[in-house]
Amino acid sequence: MASCSGDSRLIQFFNCRLVRDHRLVEEDLWVRNGKIINPEPIFFDERCKAHTLINCEGAIIAPGYIDLQINGKLQGVQKVARGLVKSGVTSFCPTLVTSPNDTYHTILPRIPMHTDRGAGVLGVHVEGPFINPQKKGAHPEHCIQSIDNGLETLCETYGSLERIKIITLAPEQVKELAVISELVEAGIVVSLGHSMASLSDGERAVQHGASLITHLFNAMLPFHHRDPGLVGLLASDAIPADRTVYFGIIADGVHTHPAALRIAYRTHCQGLILVTDAISALGLEDGIHHIGQLPLEVKQGKAFVAGSDTLCGSIAPMDECCSQVFAIEAASLHPARCLRIEAEKGTLDFGSDADFIFLNDELEVLATWIGGVCVHAK
């Protein structure tokens, strides 16, 4: 029988509704040593009661949100990480847009992998530079490249692949698609985006291991009934049976029309991942700010490339994009599955990391807990 004493506090959250088994259940949540645990063996084997009881006053407890695309001053990752917890994001991929090789070489190794009381860093999302210049959006054209020599080119460009978790590329910029399988084998998620690819280009990339689409609808060919383009991957029959193609979608009502969002949802809801593509401008005032290589201008809640009409990432915090249990899963479980980390993140299952948020019935974030520690409370 294990001892009940020691410094591993057992915390019991009661009077709450948990997001479990794809629905809300009235159950208590038990946390110890930064993990969500099964209370049954604690009761019968360890014969322990909770050290701390926390009354959630009827709140919904959901897994913390996981954002796969957050831009910002890479020097300020710690600050961004602390700010994110207010929106309920407990893990994220700091995103680096198309940049010169030097930038990758200097900045990538300096990105902190651990944050202090902030959202956890899952790895960097390098969005570019292997994108199609015709779909560059707010990315600087002079830094765009193509992958001519597989992994060699990648290492030349990025320096090291060590801290990279997601690469967004345009498959038509890749000479030999086999490099995609090599990246996947190295544990990197390959995402398709900023591309003019046809559906068959996209299907070939998926067959080689690509599993994510970066901000669906934006920076790609629009859906066409004779060539659906990358959007067509949502209903393609050429996807290997055991795989799911995930797609990030910015649901702020600005980047994507709600009807387009509904079409994507109805076609392939299990692949839907909510992203904010938020920039460090999260909560910024109107005016000129800087992101990556380009100055941006915030006008009436929208961010544009300064002096143009090109939209530049959403500044809507994650909690405004969500609306129901599915929405919660689209922002937590689905990204976790996409990154293959659902054993530790994205759920309230026993054994997973104690990263979770308290929500009220309007899905507003009341509190954020990371690793069993409260890092934000309203």
């Binding site: 208590d28 209370p39 049954e40 604690i42 009761f43 019968f44 360890e46 014969r47 322990c48 009661k49």
Partner: protein, 303 residues
């Protein structure tokens, strides 16, 4: 079978009369009380109120634990729900309560949906403030089952004996897993389950007989008889015949619940449906005592 000799005829009628006389007399000490309520929900609620009153009147403390014997099953489920409600309303605490469950299957993983550990944890213990070390449920996966049973008896003794043992009744009149033919002085032991029980349980195990546990650990009839008070919950028409056999016929090891006719303090709570096989006279008699019996739970006001 009807007796055919005159002497036997007299004996037969005399025993019937004796059984009936046992129901007469006052309701304090040395009497079996039958509480007849309208529905099975009322049974659960009444039983919960009684438990709460008994615990509170006992005034348990760190040196004086209230020892409770507990059953599993659909009838007690209603009682547990009500007890949890009372606990949440602050009307009862289980901090100084010790519990001993009646039985558990042999060989079933503890977290299996049909195990009695699972039942008790999800339906009762996880919602209340009982100390985990005060909970005793027989371990059907113990290396030495006989030692486990003996240890259970020892633990009851060390706790000072059971103050109130709550149980249900099977359609064949069994209490816990003391199936027909069990000794009325039996103690906690390993029992091989009757075919009827296996068939009744099959529906909880995907109707696959190979998955149904064949043995169980159970308290004996004698174990329950040792307690200060016994409360049996009986609901539903399918239990009616068993109730009749338990209280209107003699003490018989084929209907083990009948043993409690010889316990000084037996309380039986049943619903209308469960009385369907009793004599109208018996039912009317006990219903007329409801005023008196209501006082048993008087201090608990309904909310």
């Amino acid at each position: 079978m009807y007796p055919i000799h005159l002497a036997e005829v007299f004996d037969y009628f005399l025993s019937m009369l004796n059984n009936f006389i046992r129901f007469l007399g006052n309701d304090t000490g040395g009497n079996m009380r039958l509480i007849i309520l309208d529905t099975s929900q009322s049974v659960g609620k009444w039983a919960a109120k009684y438990v709460v009153k008994r615990i509170n009147d006992f005034q348990p403390g760190p040196n004086k634990y209230f020892v409770l014997g507990l059953p599993t099953g659909s009838t007690p489920l209603g009682m547990y729900r009500e007890l949890i409600e009372f606990h949440k309303q602050g009307k009862v605490s289980f901090q100084f309560v010790k519990t001993f469950n009646m039985d558990e299957y042999v060989g079933l993983p503890r977290d299996h949906a049909e195990s009695y550990h699972y039942f008790m944890w999800h339906n009762f213990f996880k919602h209340i403030d009982i100390e985990p070390k005060n909970v005793h449920i027989l371990d059907g996966n113990a290396a030495d089952l006989v030692a486990e049973c003996n240890q259970f008896e020892q633990q009851i003794k060390e706790a000072g004996g059971v103050e109130l043992f709550i149980g249900g009744i099977g359609p064949d009149g069994h209490i816990a897993f003391n199936e027909p033919g069990s000794s009325l002085v039996s103690r906690t032991r390993v029992k091989t389950l009757a075919q009827d029980t296996l068939e009744a349980n099959a529906r909880f195990f995907d109707n696959d007989m190979s998955k149904v546990p064949k043995q169980a650990l159970t308290v004996g009839v004698g174990t329950v008889m040792d307690s200060n008070e016994v409360m049996i919950l009986i609901t539903g028409a399918h239990k009616a015949f068993a109730l009749y056999k338990a209280i209107e016929e003699g003490v018989n090891h084929m209907w083990t619940v009948s043993a409690f006719q010889q316990h000084a303090n037996t309380l039986m709570i049943c619903d209308e449906d469960a009385t369907l096989e009793l004599r109208v006279k018996t039912v009317k008699y006990f219903k007329s005592l409801m005023d008196v019996h209501s006082k048993l739970i008087e201090q608990q006001k309904t909310t």
